[in-house]
């Protein structure tokens, strides 16, 4: 048993998390150093801002987590997303969860209500199809996303222009 344990890959989630954070940290430090080398002395304030922005973006990209989102796969189907209300044949949970996070991130590029609706519809549809068809469906959502983002923002801007600027009070 002990030998078998030794042959198994190291999948301790805590170690994985530490490794991932270390990789992100190295990327941030190297990025900051590059920025410091490239910019002039009057622009040193860019480095901390760059570090902060890269830290946030890399954390989101590396962990696939967004602030305020519930942890999935805990066995309690109360959240939203593929694993929350999916079918029993969800397939590899990691892959589905990753694709779901990409959809979440794309939805954040759209104006608030439109993005939420797009994501809710995708969630509703993807939870009803089999895992084998899900990949193609997600890819189709992602393919149409850039056009949708432009279309929705254009519509939002036009609506705001039509309504006029908001006045306080």
């Amino acid at each position: 048993m002990r030998d078998l344990d030794g042959m198994m890959p190291d999948t301790d989630p805590r170690k994985e998390r530490v490794k991932r954070r270390a990789r992100v940290g190295i990327c941030v430090i190297m990025g900051a150093m590059t920025v410091l080398l490239l910019i002039g002395p009057g622009w040193t304030w860019v480095a901390p801002a760059f570090c902060a922005a890269v830290s946030v973006l890399s954390t989101i990209a590396a962990t696939g987590k967004l602030p305020g989102r519930q942890e999935k796969g805990s066995g309690h189907r109360s959240g939203r997303g593929l694993s929350a209300c999916g079918r029993e044949d969800d397939g590899p949970a990691g892959s589905a969860a990753h694709q779901w996070h990409v959809l979440v991130m794309v939805s954040r590029l759209m104006p608030g209500p439109a993005g939420r609706r797009w994501l809710a519809e995708a969630d509703s549809l993807l939870s009803e199809i089999t895992a084998t068809r899900r990949g193609a469906a997600i890819r189709s959502y992602l393919r149409s996303a850039p056009r949708l983002v432009v279309m929705m923002w254009a519509r939002d801007v036009l609506r705001r222009a039509w309504l006029g600027p908001r006045r306080p009070g």
């Binding site: 939203r80 509703s124 199809i129 189709s140 393919r143 949708l148």
Partner: protein, 108 residues
């Protein structure tokens, strides 16, 4: 802006026109048209903007049903009239376009 009746738009309109009073949700529509859901969604959104289609969220308890609520789409009265009038005059799809569409993944 006038709605451009592309092949995909025609397919969605035809599916909705089969029974104009019937409400259809995204998966149903993509299965009937053979379009991927990501392709059908922007079309439905445009049709809704133009007032041809109306939509609503299904009123269910997702926990009880063990699935999220569906978004149902239905042709409006004016949309049904306009679609019926526009479809016969629309450009007929060519064989190549149909083959490409089939290759896109008829199964949603």
């Amino acid at each position: 802006m006038a709605l451009r009746l592309t092949l995909q738009v025609q397919l969605v309109l035809q599916a909705l026109l089969r029974d104009p009073a019937r409400e259809m949700y995204g998966l149903e529509l993509s299965e009937e048209t053979g379009l991927q859901p990501g392709t059908a969604y922007p079309i439905l959104l445009r049709l809704e903007q133009e007032g041809w289609v109306t939509s609503r969220w299904e009123d269910i308890d997702p926990r009880a049903e063990k699935r999220p609520a569906r978004r149902y789409y239905c042709l409006t009265a004016s949309g049904a009239v306009q679609a019926s009038a526009a479809l016969p005059g629309a450009r007929r799809p060519k064989g190549a376009a149909l083959r490409r569409l089939a290759g896109e993944g008829g199964t949603a």
